[in-house]
Symmetry: C2
Subunit: 360 residues, 2 copies
């Protein structure tokens, strides 16, 4: 049972560095648009989630942010009309590299245009047009979703009154670019990738597995793992044959996460979305971040960061909040002491629920 | 021209978890053993360096710690008899998985016994026996070499009067185990690895390339790269075909390092040495680190760490120094403010030279 809705845009859909003839955009909604049409909240996602942010009567399966969105939750669907879009370039209903190009009848694969987060934001705006939402109460997102929310606020000044950016940044730093570049290389160097032309039945699982493990390493924090795993061994005795198998608990944990990920996400989509994060730079139009943020027109903004996040370090959220403060009267910066690193917004709900609720 | 000397031990050489029949150990020396035989300094290396720590008249090519060892340098070969061993298990003269097993006439490959840092330390002690060095002025090392120096001090109480441990630890934490586990998986999942039975002319270069890049990411620090690379692009314009090539300067940097590494280090040797670091735990014999360190008998010890190191975080050096303080009267802990992360001991010589010189 799916709550997913789709719209197909009349083309051409102009992207920052290319165009699509008539892309489909998938989304889900929770709650009801009020008669003044002022209570809509648009959520952009991180790289890998779908639009299914929370359960609903139409799809009771738990969403990826189930504790955050729903009746009586911090983003309260009794009060707000909540919209979550599957990112353009992804593979959960929206058009992406794994989709068929209506012009050629073939899958886009690497013929998909270079994807930028501005394009993902624009696809979100198209959903708002379809839903007759002229102005958002809040545009928001975490990680890549936070960067996309910022791209939206820059492209459409005034279209959102508020913005929440969580564990995101105004631009990617070389350390996170290096991590993602290596993840992409793991996929591209998997023979099964076939320069993007893999059989969908035999995708580059090895590359995706390695990329996911590096993802997990960069999404958490060393201190969390020291507390959680220490030097616990997975086996009662050391492996007999060679010493390179799964021995320590942390290795078993990474393996389990990789196994869960394999087969759920298209490799080319992963490559495009990953690169889009590298390419995003809110300073593009101004030289400095402060100048780049000049188009911003928001009544309120909340920037949340996590002190143990080394992929999007808290200094980047502080920098973003400082930049926004020149243009947004009501700006709040909330650094949280979560120990789970970049992923904290998904797991440290006791800290994140009140932080987000305070905005609504 | 090589300054490398080798000894072949009469077997069997008993290891912590196996044995070798008659391993060869390679080493270099600088300076002269004084008549009291009290001025010897033994250096253990990190995972990938050879015994060529510095140039000499026998081999004038620059060593990997050229600024640290030599006449008038912090480890002054005019005053000290300096010995550096190529680790057992490595591939620069000492017996390792790439060597031929004299028992079978075939390369060891994965038939090499599980390697522990205690075995590397024991091979170093065998070199001292050969050189007639009963007692060391100092045993020392950085990274894996620092762990090996500690293994030596635990195995041979009193055989060294002093110890210097740099950017090392009493045991590996799950974060660094995860990084190394993923590096090994990159190599093992390269089809060319062939379960360790690769043709030496067609080794698993792809896996080694990926592993090296992850190594470089973990050896440096995010803040160094932000300063150094920012968002500099390598090309004048964005690449035309697909956006996954080398675009940002940091990607070009990683590629250059990977290219330098490929072909210089045997993949199976890498796997064994990498795992040896995971397995090392100075608390093995005591339950806690403090109890595990009880056998230590040193007059002096210096523990150096770097604040930006996230692979061997400075808390681990502080923990080690604290543990040692219960058994060593003259113990110093020196956290350094270098920004180059784990690799600082190789590059931030202006901080490291005086820190090491202060001990001698």
């Amino acid at each position: 049972m799916s709550a997913l809705k789709t719209i197909t845009l009349e083309g051409p859909f102009t992207m920052k560095r290319g165009q699509l003839s008539s892309p489909t955009i998938a989304f889900e909604t929770w709650g009801t648009l009020d008669t003044a049409r002022q209570n809509a909240v648009l959520i952009f996602t991180g790289l890998s989630p779908s639009a299914h942010v929370a359960s609903s009567s139409a799809d009771p399966s738990p969403g990826w942010w189930e504790d955050m969105v729903g009746p009586g939750k911090p983003i309260d669907s009794n009060r707000y009309f909540v919209i979550c879009v599957n990112s353009l370039g992804s593979c959960f209903g929206s058009t992406g590299p794994a989709s068929i190009d209506p012009e050629t009848g073939k899958h886009y694969r690497l013929n998909f245009p270079v994807l930028c987060l501005e394009d993902v934001a624009k696809a979100g705006a198209a959903v708002l047009d379809h839903l007759n939402v002229e102005q958002l109460h809040t545009v928001m997102g975490a990680s890549m979703g936070g960067m996309t929310a910022l791209a939206f606020a820059l492209l459409y000044p005034g279209r959102a009154r508020g913005m929440i950016s969580i564990s995101a940044a105004g631009r990617s730093r070389p350390f996170s670019i290096a991590i993602r570049s290596l993840q992409r290389e793991m996929i591209r160097r998997d023979d099964a990738w076939q320069n993007g032309n893999y059989d969908f039945d035999t995708p580059p699982d090895t590359g995706m597995r390695l990329a996911r493990k590096l993802g997990m390493i960069s999404y958490r924090s060393a201190s969390e793992w020291t507390e959680r795993f220490g030097r616990e061994r997975a086996l009662d005795e050391a492996p007999r044959e060679h010493p390179f198998g799964l021995d320590f608990e942390v290795e078993v944990y990474l393996e389990a996460h990789a196994n869960k990920f394999i087969g759920t996400f298209d490799a080319n989509c992963y490559l495009y979305l990953s690169r889009a994060m590298d390419l995003f730079d809110a300073a593009d139009q101004g030289g400095s971040l402060r100048e780049g943020l000049r188009p911003i027109s928001l009544e309120r903004a909340l920037v949340i960061g996590v002190e143990s996040d080394f992929l999007f370090p808290v200094e980047q959220q502080e920098e973003l909040a400082e930049g926004l403060s020149h243009y947004v009267d009501d700006i709040q910066f909330r650094p949280l002491a979560s120990i789970q690193g970049h992923d904290s917004f998904l797991v440290d709900m006791d800290r994140f629920r009140p932080a987000v609720a305070s905005f609504f």
